[in-house]
């Protein structure tokens, strides 16, 4: 018994010495940590203080000017992983991942308004190619994209007599004459503890990077221009957001700043 005890002590001491020597060599190798000789100098560097380092704050590693050192790949799940670690995701992979069908007071034809003018919709008419942000006007300057007020609908439709007698427009003018807003229902409803900002995404991708607005809106909303009533196309879960935020969206090849979105809990959670 004593022998085993002694042996274990010897083993522990050996391990201890090994780790200690490893720590020595590693610290000497990376050249940042002090050896015994320049410990005082390092202490002086440490004592130099933090709030005085305004000038160095942007050039040290990880600052805004830094390029991403490693490319972070999005998680790739195979079906086994999905089955055991993410069963709901595995089940969802067999579905179309569309959200619930929301019954709106007026069946608003997104394809008729925002669809491609050259493309014929299922109802036999072509789209008008109106920009998403003509109606959802707050998307570029606010947290929410915004539902247009009724007067915005009327502003155009009072000048379009050709469709004035169709059932949906008649219903629209009923609301207008009654002086009541249309009770649209929310399709893309995020939880209350999430702060999603439309402005940053639109400013970044549409105005700064000049990507087509339909593509940018479609990252989260899908191809709304081919739908009538909008339906949720993406899961809009946290994994969906983070997968995109981990990717590097540099503005162009000469852009030196790291291009990924914030990966900080407090940026989105409130």
């Amino acid at each position: 018994m004593h022998r085993i005890f002694l042996n274990s002590i010897v083993l522990l001491v050996g391990l201890f010495a090994a780790t200690a020597s490893f720590a020595d060599s590693s610290t000497a190798h990376d050249g940042v940590a002090p050896s015994a000789g320049n410990a005082a100098a390092a202490a002086a560097v440490e004592k130099k203080g933090f709030i005085a380092d305004y000038d160095n704050i942007f050039i040290v590693k990880g600052g805004p000017e830094a390029k991403p050192t490693t490319e972070i790949k999005p998680l790739e799940w195979n079906w086994v992983d999905k089955l055991f670690y993410n069963p709901m995701g595995w089940i969802n992979s067999f579905t179309d991942q569309l959200g619930p069908e929301v019954e709106q007071p007026i069946e608003f034809p997104h394809d008729r308004h925002a669809g491609d003018p050259g493309k014929v919709n299922p109802d036999g008419k072509t789209g008008d190619g109106i920009n998403c942000m003509y109606c959802h006007t707050f998307a570029r300057r606010s947290l929410t994209a915004g539902i247009p007020p009724l007067r915005k609908c009327i502003g155009c439709h009072q000048n379009i007599p050709s469709v004035r007698d169709t059932p949906r427009i008649v219903k629209l003018f009923e609301y207008w004459d009654a002086g009541k807003p249309i009770p649209w229902k929310k399709v893309h409803d995020l939880p209350d503890y999430v702060r999603f900002n439309h402005e940053r995404h639109i400013q970044r991708f549409v105005f700064k990077q000049e990507r087509p607005y339909k593509e940018v809106c479609g990252y989260c909303h899908g191809d709304v221009a081919s739908m009538t009533v909008a339906r949720r196309q993406r899961t809009l879960s946290m994994g969906f957001c983070v997968n995109c935020h981990k990717k590097n969206h540099s503005l162009d090849s000469t852009y030196t700043k790291a291009g990924h979105g914030p990966n900080d809990c407090f940026m989105c959670h409130k």
Binding site: A33, I57, G62
Partner: protein, 305 residues
Amino acid sequence: MSIANLLQNWSRYRDTHPYGGAKPHMGYKWAMAIDMDICTGCNACSVACYAENNLAVVGKEKFLNGKSMHWLRIERYWHDTPEPTDPLQLTAYTASGAGKHFPDQGAHFLPIMCQHCEAAPCETVCPVGATNHTQDGINSQIYNRCVGSRYCLVNCPYKVRYFNWYNYQDPATENVWPEPLNQQLNPDVTVRSKGVMEKCTFCVQRLRAVMVDARTEERLVREGEVQTACQQACMAGAISFGNMLNPDSRVGKQWIEQGVNIALDVQSKNEHVGDNTPKRGYRILENLRPYPSVMYLEQVRESSV
């Protein structure tokens, strides 16, 4: 010595520690300074915090049971009055209670909120990572991640974390905001449910709003662009808040002026080094080395002048 080396460099392996600028704050380090000489203890900051952050008013009974929810509390300390050395006078002193009540005895007040420590003790113990340090130097609390182990509350030396023992928004049990009053809730802040920990966030909803604007205009947040609710409500102007890395910021100037270094645990006020101008800046419980982000400027008493 290698072990000494490891211990000396331990700070390098802590994500939260600001030593030497190795872990920069991406252009932002939100910090606060509270001037105790100006503070009158009026509790306006505490009330403003209740209004801004959807805090539940729990009532007297729960308050006495320690279930209070005030993110910013005012601690009151009576000034010491010298006791008479003469035993005859001492008995008269204790019998009359003189010097123990308000008009005879001065007090000073200490507003305490989450200190947003750089090496926060609460962050290291969270079993699910619900509380962690953001890149701009805020100690975050993610409510939907929190499982309510209350370990962070135990480890917080300032006791500024508050636990939701009840579902305060439930009309059936704790009806804190009955029907018309729920209109006062701030939509930018979650109404916390039962079983999660909560604490001061430096009004992160206001910070994020201005940071988004600044990001769109490709600049950093300017001084005076954002105020916390307590700072806004303080009519004496005792609280200053801002980006410490901004050379124009009032809070950064105060930290430099008082010689308070965020990376040290003994400040020049205690060391009496350098120029002999009296310094007032200190941080609470610095010897525990949590490196808090809130600096207090001590009260100048008449006796010391």
